[in-house]
Symmetry: C2
Subunit: 141 residues, 2 copies
């Protein structure tokens, strides 16, 4: 599938407090949320709220993590093979590989790269999230 | 319309170089691009590449701009009235208003707020971009 953004994850100090803030804005929390991470319906993409230290650690991004809590955009792929291909393309294109793709504790497969300006991208396969042809993920209600 | 993310804008040192990097990843540039800003088809959302100083200035975000070049997510609304309503909701919800909504040089209307962790959000009305009911913008080819 063509490259795309599926998910934007914000690193936050307090997941519950950040969730309450976004609910005050009118966003709706998805049932896919867990204690450590909130997933929110954000129109065409999903919005994630994740502890900033946990997100930094997930991305192995300590060398470039930022003062504003950090942020990562994610491209969800249709298979582990597609993740590997995208990570290889990114490396060839001049990206810095932050974390080679690997099996994750949540049952998926993901890696992270940084673009030349240090923006963190996750490339992920999540077998539990239906994925449309344009890269849109279908969060549960 | 329900709150959503339409656009992710990355602050970059060199717009042309960053555009070339994302083209190497397989992303396609939109004809909406200009010398100072590149718009890229990124599946369900649009990806913007904008000079980091220009983006910092656009967002009036100097107090919280980040070491990795900065990033802002955008919610495109259907009218100026909707922008005003969303900015008011954000203020009430505890956001910091970075830039009150105002007419922009590019013919639109936009403001910026920061969430409690300092993440910059643009709330914009762009009369030139068709907007779907879920907040997805329809970039030209």
């Amino acid at each position: 599938m063509a490259p795309h953004i599926s998910l934007v994850t914000l690193g936050v100090r307090d997941v519950a407090a950040a969730t309450a803030f976004y609910e005050r804005l009118g966003f709706k929390r998805s049932g896919a949320s867990q204690e450590a991470v909130t997933f929110i319906h954000a129109g065409p993409v999903a919005l994630g709220l994740f502890g900033r230290d946990a997100l930094e650690n997930d991305a192995k991004a300590s060398s470039l993590w930022t003062g504003n809590g950090g942020i990562a955009v994610a491209m969800n792929c249709a298979s582990e093979t597609e993740v590997d291909a995208m990570m290889a393309t990114a490396k060839t294109a001049g990206a810095k590989i932050l974390k080679p793709a690997e099996k994750t504790f949540w049952g998926g497969y993901s890696g992270y790269f940084a673009d030349p300006d240090g923006h963190a991208w996750e490339v992920a396969y999540n077998p539990f999230w239906p994925l449309a042809a344009n890269g849109q993920v279908d969060l549960p209600a």
